[in-house]
């Protein structure tokens, strides 16, 4: 169980990246959903001991993460949002090196670990190639492989699917879902489908604050009967925004499809629609961050 209380981090210049965040994350997949710049990565880095927050506490089981970062690192697997590689270093060598750093120092155990993970992430056939030449998906799978070294009890994956094509994304999520149910996995993403496909629990973060938290199916159920949709001309959008709570707009065959939030039937050609997680997400966001 990861328990975050009143976590605040202020960057130089006074930017509040995260603001009084409190969260309880049990074992299993947990989705942290939020738009770019919402503070996801800062939160992830704080949990991953890479950033000392300005105030607040983070506890993982009986580890005080801020006071004893070295203890947490022993049970941590972390896939950063963005990581680079060394030129002229192969996947095998790099994974081997990571394994040493993660405490798998006995040569035989290390070989088992590295080989098993290369196998599991489907990188066996390219293990001798330099990672610098990997595609985005291969690189992310390598990232997971290194994060899984040494039986982590807490796995943090930050924006892992950004930039992947659908097939690579699928393969990646499958890989992630295989990781045991017994560990805490935090998946941060701005892609709603990542969460809806994978996570038992989720939270939505915006402007550094947790705006919603819960079980995805329960959150969508709470919106049943309150989401309405209509296809309108692009020029009408401004007028509708004035009149309704427009939570989602999307181009649809040259016209604009809008979802609005309304407890009653708004009439005017709107039809009821079954709410999806996307509606939950955009409903939760402050008005200015709702997507086009």
């Amino acid at each position: 169980m990861l328990k975050i209380e009143n976590l605040t981090h202020i960057y130089r210049g006074g930017v509040r990246a995260i603001d009084k965040v409190s969260l309880e994350i049990p074992r299993g997949m947990f989705g942290l959903l939020g738009p770019n710049g919402a503070g996801k990565s800062t939160l992830m880095r704080c949990i991953a001991t890479l950033q000392t927050p300005t105030s607040g506490t983070i506890r993982f089981d009986d580890i005080d993460v801020i006071k004893e970062p070295e203890k947490l690192r022993r049970v941590l697997g972390y896939l950063p949002q963005d990581f680079g590689v060394y030129p002229r270093v192969s996947a095998y060598a790099m994974l081997d090196h990571m394994a040493v750093l993660k405490g798998i120092t006995r040569p035989r155990e290390r070989r088992d670990t590295v080989e098993a993970l290369l196998q599991q992430t489907n990188l066996w056939s390219v293990r001798k190639k330099a990672i610098a030449g990997f595609s985005g998906g291969m690189r992310q799978r390598f990232g997971v492989a290194q994060a899984l070294i040494g039986q982590p009890a807490l796995l943090i994956v930050d924006e892992p699917t950004a930039g992947l094509d659908p097939e690579e994304r699928n393969r990646f999520l499958n890989l992630l879902s295989e990781v045991g149910e017994n560990v805490v996995v935090i998946l941060s993403t701005h892609i709603v489908e990542d969460v809806s496909d994978l996570c038992q629990r989720m939270a939505i973060i915006a402007d550094g604050r947790i705006v919603t938290t819960g079980v995805p199916s329960e959150l969508t159920a709470s919106l049943t009967g309150r989401i309405w949709r209509k296809i309108i001309a692009k020029t009408e959008l401004e007028a509708y925004r004035q009149q309704y709570v427009v939570i989602l707009t999307r181009l649809f065959g040259g016209k604009t499809l809008i979802h609005i939030l309304s407890d009653e039937d708004p009439g005017n050609g709107f039809e009821s629609v079954n709410p999806g997680l996307e509606d939950v997400y955009f409903t939760s966001l402050p008005k200015n961050r709702r997507a086009a």
Binding site: A116, I149, G150
Partner: protein, 1195 residues
């Protein structure tokens, strides 16, 4: 479009910080070189700091450094767009390639030229600074600045800009371009080093890209007056050089144009991944759990170190740097055994010196560069989040990185040793002394590099950016270079500084290693402090600000790190205290500026006593106990003194060396009147005045020692093996004289002394009362006992009377049977001895057993010298002559009575086998031996009065005598080679004269005059008047003055004798040679032959000749020439391979007049070469154009 792009580029560059930083740095450098007397570019001696020569030199030299800045401007032009990712956008605009590329280049180049204006500006503003020495300042000459800026600097910078612009365009990489810059500079300096010989001056002048070679070739024989008033004409070699490189710049720009591709360089496509056929491993079971124990930590550290090292070793920059270092050091080592005129064996000591000089800069660059790379690697590669979240303790980040640098540096040094050994092998030298490489070079140098690496790591840990860290380290390097020259010399605060260890085969590292190792311990422990702090401040995670890291410093320092820090601090403090005790308490700490000041005060206080009448020393008794292993010489001695004046003396002044401790001074019947303390000068009054002719005795006990070690200048005089002290260091003088006073006019003016300290004029007959060795003695009787440790041989002038060994001390008693000069050497070392006999004279060479190579040659040279000198001059006054090797701490040989200390480096490792086969080399060992033996006559029989011309009677005659020996042993061809070097050296050295060039008869102890010009003058004299005439004159000089006290002879006396012997026919020549500064310009323009009816050949030779007289500042006035000159026609070129007597067709003397003229010869065969003064016996400003090939008729 071109103009707009150029203007935009210019504006862009002018607003960049690089521009202003460059402007500032170059302004300060040049300003400094103008106003700081320690840094002189082109303005040595009498040359003004703002003279045309100095301005041209400064702009030329600075343009070498400016390459770095210029490259930043012009390479940035092409690389910038790729780095910012803006390239595709720019290149998608309809700008033409020409406009884009050259518009930008033009803008950047103009920006560079504007930045370079800082250099002339620095000189200009510097020359108006009020504290400048007015003597060093000339008038403001605006045209000189224009010349230097537009003719010297601009074509160079255009060329360099174009070249590195082309490189940047082709490579599209800033790093590659800078590697190119470094490679270019190393190559440049290597080639300049290789071609630094007179015969290459012309080709270097033509092709050297900075124009310095061309200017150097034109001005190499310029005098100070020329340098202050003239600019090299824009013609000939200067014009060609500038045109060549101006043209080359356009070639480079064309290269850039064709090398440039508008398309963005795509990422290299990986080939379709080859699938690996290795069997897939077993399906994954549960993965092993991590373990965190000490084994794991060890493995982690080691693996990470290896990983980091691999990153360095695999990076191309490492190999480029290593290759550059090896290239540079290889060149240096390859020529380490080559001197202009002779060759030595490439002994390990010499190779280590070459490596220390030419290679060690590379590991320092590697240390600084890779400290930045390693500290920032994770961040640069964006892997820091992966690694920083690993369960690895913080120290396991820092330690492996430092360990990796250490191992990289160590291997770098080891590679350089391999290169040295390869070169030794290649030269056929197999005594590698690997332990010396290791202990004298690899280990100490690696520690120095490690200290720098740790500092760089620490700086990088503090810096907000890698480039900032590098910048700070660059400034640090510059600061360490400048601080030491500004009087901040204490090694206790100069980080990483260590004591210099002079090397010698005789004495190994002596005791010099002790202070080096203490300083190494001191700075390494401080480096350890920095290392711990670097760990404590290490960036982990995304916190890069400094203050939060400082805030968590205490937490990181708790435990082991803090303990280590404490231990390091304790060692640092303790070793610092011990060093302080040695350098400040046991020994007096002093800087070079402090020493100069001391000498200035010394002179101000004591020089007024110079002329006071004093008693003279007539007999010397010394008992000198040398303790080589305790660095101590204890002397008990006495002087017999006599009043040789015509009046009673009531006062006597006793003076001794400032480094010498006077334990007791015992003079009967005197009162001390005044004691000048640290000047070691005491004035006594005789209770009863000393009557003319009266003799008394003074007794003294002195102690010369060094306790512990000093900050610098540890003694090289008393060492474990190879002690060499002279009596002036260990026994007192009577009265004041001028030895050891400040000479440099700039320093003298700075400390308020008259700018020149000149000897008495040649006309001042009072000066004949003293010889130039010392004023307090004429010839003295001597009785010297020298003792030392039992396993060494003690030596002093005189005949051995007794030798005994007791209490592990060997004591030898030396006595001379006739008076000798009061100037003795006392030596002690473990010697092998080679003995021989010349008639009844015992010859001996005392040498280090490792150096038997040249001993036979020395014996042979001694014999040949005695053969010739006893016939030509007078009998040898002793019946022994000994040569004694001393360590390579100095490179000279010196003649004391029948005793010749001879430096290890110049005399005992000469490689005669190599010299024999090299037409450019001479047998220097024989030459120097003959020169020193000649001093037994010229200084030890006749010694000059202490007035102008004094050294002509010793050094010039010794040169002449040695030439007689060389001519007999090796033939005139060998001597001519030597003379050519002497002439070149004389002509070059005139330009940097600091006081005044004088005619030979008035030489004021100026080496280039009494050695180099002296040799040329004496040889021409001998050729003109005949050897026997010269020798007769010398014999008469000896007959009149040998072994006699005052009045001492002057050069005038010799010249008067010479005129009598030579006859009036040679009066004009003798005046020109001795009493004037005469310079000729002889040139053979062309020659042709025509066959006559009688089968002989008419040869027509067109020549041009001029003669000049110069004044002391180098101002030359032409004088009509009307002299007989040698003219010859030859089948082969004299001085070149294949020339010998049989190639001479005709050799005769013809009258030569000023200007162009045609000379005629008749030969029996068709000549190939003809010329005037073909053997270069005249002082000719250009001795390379005296010969011309002879063309066939109609050809």
């Amino acid at each position: 479009m071109f103009k707009k792009i150029a203007a935009f580029e210019l504006r862009y560059q002018l607003t960049s910080p690089v521009f202003w930083v460059a402007f500032g740095i170059f302004f300060l450098l040049t300003f400094g070189a103008t106003v700081v007397p320690y840094i002189q570019i082109g303005s040595t001696g009498n040359v003004h700091v703002n003279s045309p020569y100095a301005i041209v030199q400064k702009l030329g030299v600075m343009s070498v450094f400016a390459i770095f800045i210029l490259t930043a401007f012009v390479a940035n032009v092409v690389v910038r767009d790729d780095e910012t990712g803006y390239g595709p956008i720019v290149r998608a605009t309809p700008v033409s390639k020409f406009d884009y590329l050259f518009g930008r280049f033009a803008g950047a180049f103009v920006a560079g030229m504007i930045a370079y204006l800082s250099v002339p500006l620095g000189i200009l503003i510097g020359s108006f600074m009020p504290w400048l020495d007015p003597v060093k300042l000339g008038p403001f000459q605006p045209e000189v600045y224009l010349y230097a800026y537009f003719l010297v600097a601009m074509p160079t910078l255009l060329m360099m800009g174009a070249m590195f612009f082309a490189l940047a365009t082709v490579t599209r990489s800033m790093l590659a371009t800078y590697v190119g810059v470094v490679a270019f500079l190393v190559l440049y300096f290597v080639l300049i080093g290789l071609f630094a010989k007179p015969q290459y001056d012309h080709i270097v002048g033509l092709l050297e890209p900075f124009g310095l070679g061309a200017v150097g070739e034109v001005t190499k024989y310029w005098t100070a007056s020329d340098r202050n008033s003239m600019l090299p004409p824009i013609a000939g070699i200067v014009a060609y050089n500038r045109l060549i490189w101006f043209g080359a710049s356009f070639a480079m720009l064309a290269l850039a144009y064709f090398g440039f591709r508008f398309e963005t360089k795509g990422a290299k496509r990986q080939r379709a991944s080859r699938h690996d056929d290795a069997p897939a491993p077993r399906p994954a079971g549960p993965l092993p759990a991590p373990r965190f124990d000490s084994y794991a930590t060890r493995v982690q550290s080691w693996k990470w170190s290896r990983f980091e090292m691999a990153q360095v070793f695999k990076s191309p920059a490492f190999f480029v740097l290593l290759a550059l270092g090896l290239l540079n050091a290889g060149g240096s080592m390859w020529f380490a055994d080559q001197f202009l005129d002779f060759t030595i064996f490439p002994v390990t000591r010499v190779m280590i010196d070459a490596l220390r000089g030419a290679f060690t800069i590379i590991p320092l660059i590697i240390a600084i560069y890779y400290a930045g790379e390693l500290v920032w690697r994770e961040r640069d590669r964006r892997t820091h989040e992966l690694f920083d979240s690993c369960p690895v303790p913080d120290w396991a980040f820092v330690v492996p990185k430092i360990a990796a640098i250490v191992l990289v540096l160590l291997s770098t040094y080891l590679v350089s040793v391999v290169a040295a050994v390869v070169i030794q092998t290649f030269k056929g030298y197999h005594d590698y002394q690997l332990s010396h490489y290791l202990l004298w070079y690899v280990v100490p140098e690696t520690f120095i590099a490690i200290e720098l690496a740790v500092l760089a790591v620490f700086v990088q840990a503090l810096s907000p950016h890698k480039y900032v860290g590098w910048g700070i380290m660059g400034l640090y390097l510059v600061a360490t270079l400048t601080l030491a020259t500004m009087g901040f010399e204490d090694k206790l605060y100069l980080y990483g500084s260590t004591a210099y260890v002079p090397l010698s085969d005789m004495n190994g590292e002596g005791k010099f290693w002790i202070s080096r190792d203490w300083f190494t311990l001191y700075w390494c422990s401080f480096a350890l402090v920095l290392g711990v702090l670097a760990y404590a401040l290490w960036r982990r995670g995304t916190e890069t600000r400094l203050w939060p890291r400082i805030a968590r410093l205490p937490r990181r320092l708790s435990g082991g790190a803090g303990a280590l820090l404490a231990v390091a601090l304790i060692i640092f403090a303790a070793s610092g205290a011990y060093i302080f005790y040695n350098t400040h308490t046991l020994n007096e700490y002093n800087t070079s500026i402090g020493r100069d000041k001391f000498m200035a005060d010394y002179e101000k206080t004591l020089l007024p006593f110079e002329k006071l009448p004093q008693p003279r020393i007539i007999g010397v008794t010394l008992n000198v106990a040398i303790y080589p292993h305790q660095t101590r010489v204890e002397t008990v001695g006495s002087y017999a003194i006599q009043n040789r004046t015509s009046k009673p003396l009531s006062r006597m002044d006793v003076r001794w060396d400032p480094y010498l401790k006077m334990v007791s001074l015992d003079i009967a019947g005197v009162r001390k009147i005044k004691d000048y303390g640290a000047f070691h000068y005491v004035v006594y009054a005789f209770d009863k005045p000393m009557q003319p002719g009266e003799t008394r005795t003074i007794r003294f006990k002195t102690l010369l020692e060094q306790k512990g070690f000093k900050n610098d200048n540890n003694t090289t005089r008393i060492v474990d093996n190879g002690t060499f002290v002279n009596n002036m260091e260990i026994s007192p003088f009577i009265g004041m004289d001028r030895s050891a006073l400040l000479n440099d006019p700039v320093k003298r003016r700075r400390y308020g002394l008259p700018s020149e300290l000149r000897p008495a004029k040649l006309e001042d007959d009072r000066a004949r009362a003293n010889n130039y060795l010392r004023h307090d003695s004429d010839w003295v009787t001597s009785d010297i006992i020298v003792s030392t440790v039992a396993d060494q041989t003690p030596i002093a002038p005189g005949y051995k009377i007794s030798e005994s060994v007791a209490n592990d001390r060997r004591t030898v008693h030396f006595k001379s049977d006739s008076p000798i000069a009061n100037f003795f050497s006392m030596q002690s070392a473990a010697y092998a001895v080679k003995r021989d006999k010349w008639h009844d004279v015992n010859l001996a060479v005392y040498y280090d057993p490792h150096h038997p190579y040249d001993v036979e040659r020395m014996i042979a040279a001694m014999k040949a010298s005695f053969d010739i000198y006893t016939k030509a001059f007078s009998p040898y006054q002793f019946h022994q002559a000994r040569i004694l090797e001393f360590p390579a701490y100095a490179s000279f040989a010196q003649s004391f009575a029948n005793t010749i200390p001879y430096g290890e480096g110049i005399g005992f490792i000469q490689n005669f086998g190599a010299i024999k086969n090299d037409p450019e080399k001479i047998d220097l060992v024989t030459y120097v031996t003959a020169h020193e033996i000649a001093h037994q006559w010229w200084a030890h029989q006749v010694v000059g009065a202490d007035m102008q011309g004094m050294t002509m009677l010793s050094e010039t005659f010794a040169q002449y005598s040695a030439m007689l020996v060389m001519e007999k042993l090796y033939g005139p061809e060998h001597v001519r080679k030597f003379l050519k070097y002497s002439l070149d050296h004389y002509l070059r050295a005139r330009g940097s004269e600091e006081v005044e060039e004088l005619p030979l008869e008035r030489v004021e102890d100026q080496g280039y005059i009494h050695y180099d010009k002296g040799a040329v003058v004496m040889y021409r004299l001998k050729q003109a008047v005949g050897e026997e005439v010269v020798n007769r004159a010398l014999r008469r000089l000896l007959a009149e003055y040998a072994f006699k006290p005052a009045p001492y002879p002057s050069s005038k006396d010799f010249i008067a004798i010479l005129r009598q012997e030579a006859g009036p026919k040679y009066d004009a020549l003798i005046t020109d040679l001795f009493a004037r500064i005469t310079v000729y310009d002889l040139k053979a323009d062309s020659a042709s032959w025509k066959k006559r009816a009688d089968g002989k050949f008419d040869v027509t030779l067109n020549v041009e000749a001029h003669k000049f007289y110069a004044d002391g500042k180098g101002k030359e006035t032409e004088s009509p020439l009307n002299e007989d000159v040698d003219i010859g026609a030859f089948l082969a070129e004299p001085g070149k391979k294949g020339f010998d007597k049989s190639k001479i067709l005709v050799f005769e003397q013809l009258k030569l007049k000023t200007g162009k003229q045609t000379l005629h010869l008749v030969t029996g065969r068709a000549p190939a070469f003809a010329g005037i003064d073909p053997y270069n016996e005249w002082i000719d400003r250009n001795s390379d154009d005296n010969l011309t090939s002879v063309s066939a008729p109609g050809g």
